[in-house]
């Protein structure tokens, strides 16, 4: 009979939710009870909103507990593991399961299922079969053809067809070639690549091996940001394991193909996600994009032909080789094949990772799978594609998620971040927020990106503080278009997107800030005041307690008074008041 297994979700999300303590408590409980149970860890399954997730795998079936805390461990062990009675109120709901089932998991096929630190579990799921198939029976051209006909496009953001990219590198002549995995995932609110690296690192290694074979590269780099320590740790373990099994090294699986692999830790510059800046960074230079052509396929790392693919792209590769290009291409739309992983974040009910076939509507992804906006607020917009992306309004929720449709909205697919915003979010302020990020992360090379984004930011700061002037919108738009047109790399070319899309879909909000000094979402601090509604105030004193500047006074059970001059509009009192007695009003 199979042993009982207990699996704890220990991706970064699980750990952040207290997964380590849950794991320790389980270990203690198992030991003290003398149970013959296997305790394992796994990566993120995508339901980050339900972490810590604990799977109890009994011969009778697999039960997943959600939001587990150490206090819950005794009951789970005693009632479920020992007595065999599931605790229904703690398990994930049917809705959670439906959401999982609506997904199509290719990239995330093993995430949250296998132990990322066990090569055996990867192999058990069919891992390293693809590289075996490739080195033992496929020519380089066949591999490239297979990937090309799968329709896979680069998942890092630009969406260039992967097979064609490989073809360039393969054709390029050179005594040495490099194959780089771009794991410099830098978008705020995006964590697809991290989850794959933490949950299924071998799939990425196998993708690189296949790519290395196809492009004749014998040296690989994984450029991963140093802020991803768990991903780095698991990658290192995976590399060691793969070397020990002969998947990495000389004459892989007895073939002529040899491949060495190194990890290069990035220092967290957003622009190093741009391939020429990434190459410069590996070479030990300042991470600064350079002009293309020459493209890396011709002259890349150390001047040698180089191919760069993103983590998610590579994780698709073994699946395509194993299941065939046709199976892959059966998912998605005409021009965007396969699936895409999205990181749902912001004001969303079920935040986490989802993988869906290309072409599913935004509505289905956000409202269906993601459960819509959390709380009682209304959905307003979704920022797609990270800080370089754009804000898509609710009127365009039926847009299918594919490269071309998303581009038409002014946003970009990007790496797959979806930051959901409700009606408490000011769209001018959100444009300011994202632009602040990109302008700080500009490498400073191009005039427009270095100074232009700064001047744009200054205009936005002026507007949200109520000091905007009529000409600001025009100047902002002019600058935004110029920065787009006259920047060298993708960072500058896309940095104005949040501004341009909010100007396109939410221009009235800009105008309200400038013409009426009013923030329609009541989010911009300089433009709002807080007032206490007399009838609602119960005099409970909670607001007085949280107010850091002593702006609220009043005796217990008597009406409280808010001094608008002292108030710094931090919003703590509003959040704390149970009676909704404190509201935001227009200040001017």
């Amino acid at each position: 009979m199979q042993k009982t297994r207990i699996i704890v979700g220990l991706g970064s999300c699980g750990i952040a939710s207290g997964g380590r303590k849950v794991y320790e408590q389980l270990q203690l409980g198992i030991d003290s009870r003398g149970l013959d149970v296997i305790l394992e860890e796994t990566g993120c399954i995508g339901m980050c909103y339900n972490e810590v997730l604990v799977d109890v795998v009994l011969p009778a079936g697999n039960i997943t507990y959600k939001q587990v805390t150490p206090k819950m461990i005794d009951r789970i062990l005693d009632e479920h593991v020992i007595a065999g009675n599931v605790i229904p109120e703690w398990t994930i709901t049917q809705e959670d399961e439906i959401c999982l089932n609506k997904q199509q998991r290719i990239v995330l096929r093993n995430c949250g299922k296998i132990s990322p630190e066990s090569i055996d579990e990867y192999i058990k799921q069919g891992g390293y079969k693809a590289i075996e198939k490739v080195v033992n029976g496929m020519s380089r051209d066949e591999v490239i053809d297979e990937i090309t006909s799968s329709g896979l496009r680069g998942r890092g953001g630009a969406g260039f067809p992967t097979g064609i990219k490989w073809g360039f590198a393969a054709k390029s002549s050179g005594d040495k070639k490099y194959f780089i995995c771009n794991a410099d995932e830098g978008d705020p609110g995006a964590f697809m690549d991290r989850s794959v690296l933490e949950g299924d690192p071998h799939s990425v290694l196998e993708g690189m091996l296949i790519g290395g074979y196809a492009t004749c590269a014998n040296h690989g780099y994984i450029y991963v940001r140093a802020e991803y320590p768990l991903a780095i740790k698991r990658l290192k373990i995976a590399i060691e394991q793969a070397k020990a099994r002969g998947f990495i090294g000389e004459h892989i699986l007895g073939s002529d193909f040899s491949f060495e692999l190194e990890i290069k830790e990035g220092a967290g510059a957003f622009v190093c996600g741009e391939e020429t800046a990434l190459i410069a960074s590996i070479e030990g230079k300042r991470g600064m994009p350079r002009l293309r052509p020459p493209f890396p396929a011709i002259s890349g790392l150390y001047g040698k032909p180089t191919n760069i693919n993103n983590v998610e792209t590579l994780a698709n590769i073994p699946w395509i080789i194993t299941n065939g290009a046709e199976s892959y291409a059966s998912f998605g739309t005409e021009k965007s094949k396969g699936t895409k992983v999205f990181a749902l974040a912001g004001k969303i009910q079920r935040g986490g990772l989802v993988e869906v076939p290309m072409g599913m509507s935004l509505r289905e992804v956000i409202l269906g799978i993601g459960g819509g906006v959390a709380g009682k607020h209304e959905f307003k917009a979704v920022q797609m594609g990270g800080p370089s992306g754009g804000c898509i309004p609710s009127s365009l929720l039926d847009t299918p998620v594919d490269y071309d449709s998303i581009n038409q909205t002014g946003a970009i697919m990007g790496s797959g971040g979806m930051v959901v915003m409700d009606d408490t979010i000011c769209m001018v302020d959100i444009a300011r927020f994202f632009l602040n990020f990109t302008q700080n992360e500009s490498c400073g090379k191009c005039t427009f990106c270095r100074i232009g984004t700064r001047r744009m930011l200054e205009i936005l700061e002026r507007i949200v503080s109520g000091h905007g002037v009529d000409e600001d919108i025009e100047l902002l738009e002019k600058l935004a278009q110029s920065v787009q047109k006259t920047s060298l790399c993708g960072l500058g070319q896309t940095a104005p997107n949040p501004v341009l899309t909010t100007l396109r879909y939410f221009r009235d909000e800009y105008e309200a800030h400038i013409k009426q000094r009013r923030c329609p979402a009541k989010a911009c601090k300089e433009l709002i005041s807080f007032v206490i509604i007399d009838e609602r105030c119960k005099g409970c004193g909670m607001c007085i307690k949280v107010c850091g500047v002593k702006a609220i006074t009043g005796e217990k059970k008597k009406l409280h008074v808010l001094d608008a001059d002292k108030c710094i509009r931090c919003g703590q009192c509003v959040a704390k008041c149970k009676f909704e007695a404190i509201i935001k009003v227009d200040r001017w």
Partner: protein, 687 residues
């Protein structure tokens, strides 16, 4: 070779060329700041953008785009022009420096102050005067009476005290009068040269005539009063501007073939029509502002109530005037001070100056106010006359106390009478110095000359009046103001007259392109922390007792040694690279606006002068990276590198050290490459 089309013209060019190479080799100019032929294309400034037909992107950098057979390139279009202009405006919005020295910018006549002070420091006095004369033909006059806006703007104010610019000007002008070789009369009056008539012989006309004469025009000045000089002679007292100095300076100007006819009054002896009928082909009006306002109170017309203009003119006319008892001067401007100090010298027992605001609001020069005080003038601030009392002759003046209210349209606080605070002062003479107006009555008959409500002549920005061929400048245009304004106006008019007489379009000089660090209160004085303090030279002055005995000049002039010391106090503001700076060159070419992003953040960095041969001023850096690349790729040293990100990106020596602590061998290649004044080979001599 491949065939490409640039701006509809076909060219055969090498297939390895970039668009920039191809354009340049065919004489088509494309601006760039970051490109250097010794280096690989870098593509950072984005100034070289052009349009290429069929390209995915609307604009491509010419420096980095290789030509292709059949390529169709456009280098001039609205899109390109606007992109380049915006690019320059962005670069200039974070460019902290002074193109031209603030003193020169502050001078209405644009006198090249830094240059002449440098020449004084080097002992090249004759050259120094010549530099001044390029913009100001009255250095000895201005060296004495100028209101010195240059000194107010002098950056040395942030160290200790401003450089004594005006004293230095007087020093060289006096030196020239004593020792120098007067400028040779270089203008050979051609028999057939065109004739210009100038009405009034004040500083505006003298300046206009001087520059016209320099352009070979035959100038005749018509002056109503007995001698030339205008307000210099009939408004400024002898103790400030001795008549012999004025005479010499006017004589010097007139040596250039200028004829002055005195005692000729417009409207009485001639008209503009008669001048034009007499063979003059252009007329300049510079009749000044010799009229005055009456006090406007009861009794302001009885004997013993004078206007300062009349009083000072009588002095200039050498009329014998004796004063006794108490003299009250009304007003707070320079004329009031001149009248008060003159009255003291004429034997008044006591001189009081009555001003309706407080000392802080007085428009007179601080120095003049102090001198008046030293000499014994008493000040009655916040007081205004209500009436003058006397039977046949002034005996008492009744005043009322004032208090300052809200600021008025001039920005100064408006004086308001305090009810019931009237008081009396016994006086024998009252001198009203409450403003001057042009005596434009003589122009009323003239056709086409538009007179404003303030009685000034209305001119266009080329100093042209409404009448073709008739120009005007000086106080008659601006209202009573300072000498240097009149000189500047006269010169501007001379240029317009020249263009008019040549029959070309009159194009007044546009405002000079100038990046400025800002006014003194906008500049952090920490910038000058390293400058050694050195007190400003003091002007030797006549002792008070000697002064009051007559009209001897009060200021005695600088000694040579002190002039030399003072000249060395000059901080030499202004950019060394002014003639080579690409940003300035293209900024002018593309007509950029310097204040499009005026409220944005501007970086202020410390200047690195740790290496004698290289002055590194990151405030002017455009981050083109030429220096970084040259130092690394050509020299193999790499003393400089990019640091920080985003707007904070800058170029610094290794680990932020001073250049002297890096591997830099002072080869100067970076200086040669720098498109602005961010890297400059420091001068080896002191000045």
């Amino acid at each position: 070779m491949v065939k490409i089309i640039i701006d509809t013209q076909e060219y055969m060019v090498d297939e390895s060329a970039t668009i920039l190479d191809a354009a340049r080799s065919n004489g088509i100019d494309i601006p760039t700041l970051c490109h250097d032929e010794q280096l690989e294309p870098f593509g950072s400034c984005w100034l070289c953008v052009v349009e290429v037909e069929g390209e995915r992107r609307p604009l491509v950098p010419a420096c980095a785009t290789k030509v292709r057979d059949g390529m169709v390139v456009t280098t001039k279009s609205k899109l390109i022009y606007e992109a380049r202009k915006l690019c320059l405006e962005l670069l200039l919005s974070d460019h902290y420096g002074d193109c031209l020295p603030p003193c020169q910018m502050a001078c209405p006549a644009g006198v090249r102050v830094k240059d002449y002070i440098g020449l004084i420091a080097e002992g090249k006095y004759q050259e120094a005067v010549e530099v001044i004369r390029q913009n100001n033909p009255l250095p000895a006059v201005c060296g004495r009476v100028c209101v010195r806006p240059c000194e107010l703007a002098c950056r040395r104010n942030l160290v200790d005290e401003p450089v004594a610019i005006d004293f230095l000007k007087r020093f060289v002008a006096d030196w020239e009068m004593g020792n120098g070789q007067q400028l040779e009369n270089s203008s050979q009056q051609l028999e057939n040269s065109k004739k210009v008539a100038l009405i009034g012989a004040g500083p505006a006309s003298l300046s206009c005539a001087y520059y016209l004469a320099g352009m070979d025009y035959k100038c005749e000045i018509f002056e109503a009063l007995p001698e030339p000089g205008g307000m210099l002679r009939y408004g400024i007292p002898e103790y400030r501007l001795p008549k012999d100095v004025l005479d010499k300076e006017i004589a010097n100007i007139c040596e250039h073939g200028i004829e002055v006819k005195c005692g000729m009054s417009l409207g009485r002896d001639f008209t503009i029509d008669s001048l034009l009928g007499d063979g003059f082909e252009a007329v300049f009006i510079g009749i000044g502002a010799h009229g005055s306002y009456k006090l406007g109170v009861e009794g302001d017309d009885i004997e013993g109530v004078l206007s300062a203009v009349d009083f000072l003119r009588d002095m200039g006319l050498n009329k014998k005037i004796r004063l006794k008892g108490r003299v009250a001067v009304i007003g707070g401007g320079n004329s009031a001070i001149d009248a008060a100090r003159t009255a003291l010298r004429l034997g008044a027992d006591e001189v009081i100056l009555i001003y309706r605001r407080s000392r802080a609001e007085m428009p007179a020069n601080e120095v003049e106010i102090n001198e008046a005080e030293h000499e014994g003038v008493q000040f009655h601030f916040l007081s205004a006359p209500v009436r003058v009392i006397g039977s046949g002759k002034a005996e008492m003046i009744e005043c009322i106390r004032m208090e300052l209210g809200e600021p008025d349209s001039s920005g100064r606080r408006k004086p308001m009478p305090v009810h019931g605070s009237e008081f009396m002062i016994a006086v024998e003479t009252v001198i009203a110095a409450i403003g001057q107006v042009p005596g434009s009555e003589c122009l009323v008959q003239e056709q086409g000359i538009q007179i404003s409500r303030g009685k000034t002549i209305v001119v266009d920005n080329g100093m042209g009046t409404g009448r073709v061929g008739v120009f005007a400048a000086g106080d008659v245009v601006t209202g009573a103001t300072c000498v240097i304004e009149a000189i500047a106006g006269g010169k501007k008019a001379a240029n317009s007259i020249d263009q008019y007489l040549q029959g070309v379009e009159i194009t007044p000089e546009a405002n000079v392109f100038n990046v400025s660090k800002g006014s003194l209160d906008e500049v952090n004085n920490l910038e000058f922390e390293g400058v050694e303090k050195q007190a400003r030279v003091r002007m030797p002055e006549l002792e008070i007792e000697k002064r009051l005995k007559g009209f001897d000049e009060v200021e005695l002039g600088l000694e040579q040694v002190n002039a030399s010391l003072e000249a060395n106090r000059c901080l030499e503001c202004g950019c060394n690279a002014i003639d080579t700076c690409g940003l300035r060159k293209y900024g002018m070419e593309y007509g950029v606006s310097l204040d499009r992003f005026k409220n944005g953040k501007v970086h202020h960095y410390l200047i690195d002068n740790s290496i004698p041969a290289i002055l590194r001023d990151p405030n002017k850096c455009v981050r083109c990276g030429k220096c970084v690349r040259i130092c690394l790729e050509i020299k193999g040293i790499g003393a400089l590198g990019f640091v920080n990100r985003g707007f904070e990106t800058t170029i610094e020596p290794t680990f932020g050290k001073p250049l002297a602590e890096t591997e830099c061998d002072s080869c100067g290649k970076c200086v040669e490459a720098c498109p602005t004044g961010a890297l400059w080979g420091e001068l080896s001599i002191a000045k």
